[in-house]
């Protein structure tokens, strides 16, 4: 799943540097609802957008994953 998410993000944000980690360990008590992931994305296209808009852009790419497989996504966005 991590690779597929990375591919989707890289396709949606051309030239972006994407780091992704599974941080599910430590959340076993409510893991039934999906994985805990952390992504860090450096993308020039985030320039001029608010933090809220940047995070919404990321969620939009991962819309399907957020419904079922991913319970929580920690997002860190940068422009450079």
């Amino acid at each position: 799943m991590l690779n597929r998410i990375r591919q989707k993000l890289e396709a949606a944000f051309p030239g972006a540097k994407v780091q992704i980690a599974d941080t599910s360990a430590g959340h076993e008590t409510h893991n039934s609802s999906g994985a805990h992931l952390a992504v860090s994305i450096t993308y020039q296209g985030f320039a001029g957008k608010s933090l809220l808009e940047q995070h919404q852009m990321v969620y939009a790419v991962l819309k399907e994953e957020m419904k079922e497989q991913v319970h929580a996504l920690k997002i860190k966005t940068r422009t450079e």
Partner: protein
């Protein structure tokens, strides 16, 4: 989204200057991310009202659509969607959250 549900959401987010949709209550949060936001607001001395989305599955799904945001918690200031846990933490650290609240 059906207009009834939209009205219910807007009544809630406009019922207090700072409003938090969360899992559980401020005294007994049911998710670490909700707990973090409560803790940040408390640390800054920001008063807020909250609603436990675990008590209403229909509302829980509707607020995701309303804010175009797929996760809980969700923070509103003066009726405007601010973000989830990561954004609240960044805005708190930069001082912007306090600015939004006192505006």
């Amino acid at each position: 989204m059906n207009p009834e549900m939209k009205k219910i959401i807007e009544e809630k987010i406009n019922s207090a200057a700072v409003f938090l949709f969360m899992k559980g209550t401020p005294e007994d949060p049911q998710c670490g991310f909700s707990a973090q936001v409560v803790s940040i607001l408390n640390d800054l001395g920001i008063e807020f009202d909250s609603f436990d989305v675990l008590s209403d599955e229909n509302l829980r799904q509707a607020i995701k659509e309303y804010a175009n945001w797929p996760t809980i918690p969700q923070l509103y200031v003066n009726g405007k969607f601010i973000g989830g846990c990561d954004i609240v933490r960044e805005l708190a650290a930069s001082g912007e959250l306090m600015e939004l609240v006192v505006k």
